[in-house]
Point group: C2
DNA sequence: AGTGTAGTTTGACGATCGCCGTACTACTTC
DNA sequence: GAAGTAGTACGGCGATCGTCAAACTACACT
């Protein structure tokens, strides 16, 4: 994704790279993450799809690369749910909003949970015949 | 439901223990169990409590031993959700309805998932201060 | 300044959820 | 039989969910 090239020096007022914009995003502290909220977040196919993609790519991704089969506002909603329950971290970079899995926090709080959920999703996908969704 | 007009049928008392009654309970086949349904089922605190108790006791338990802080009809509802999504197996024994975890099925479909979810629940309970909710 | 891209906010919608009480069925025991 | 116990079915209630369209804000690139 990301033709990361963008060599034309983000000369912007700031010094180096496109930094987080003024808009602020609320994230729960690690200790505030609740298992039931995480399970609920992951019980939606759209959100599971997002989490699986983030895991596979293993890097920050902008919301727009996901191309979910729902409207823009619904996409915003799902990312917000994932962020507010502590599953992903989001940050503004210019006009994009980058998302990343909060792997370290989740692994610290619930060891092995994310791995087994993702493995289960992959297994089920294979079982049901590659309906990635 | 079925007008079991077989009066001589309940010979059970004479023979052995109370067997499964005529009332039938629908369970999804193993292959029909869906990850998203399981995660949704476990995202409710009442149902998580039931599942944790079943795991700890590791045997069939009647609904009435759980003593959830909700009404009888709500309890029925939660057990039904757990059964219909494939997390528990239920069977009538006389006037009681016994419930048991479908550990083998869940472990076969989603290896490690149940364990890590239960471990996560235990960890969180310790973290948040023993509110066994 | 003007156009375009990326994402948000609002308000609405139907569906589902968790919960209740009441009335009911199925079984056991007296 | 009658009485008691265990659980179900049926609405109904308010809250939340997933979804959408429309109007909006924030940034980038001419």
């Amino acid at each position: 994704m990301q033709t990361q090239t963008t060599p034309t020096a983000p000369q912007s007022r700031a010094s180096s790279q496109p930094q987080a914009s003024g808009r602020s995003l609320e994230h729960p502290r690690r200790e505030a993450i609740r298992l039931e909220d995480v399970l609920h977040a992951l019980s939606d196919p759209m959100r599971m799809r997002v989490v699986r993609t983030l895991e596979e790519e293993n890097c920050e991704l902008s919301c727009s690369v996901f191309d979910l089969p729902v409207s823009k506002s619904t996409t915003t909603h799902h990312f917000r749910v994932l962020r507010e329950c502590g599953v992903i971290h989001q940050i503004y970079r210019g006009t994009a909003k980058m998302s990343a899995l909060r792997r370290d926090d989740l692994d610290a709080l619930f060891p092995g949970l994310l791995d087994s959920v993702l493995a289960a999703a992959a297994l089920q996908e294979g079982r049901l015949g590659g309906n990635r969704g």
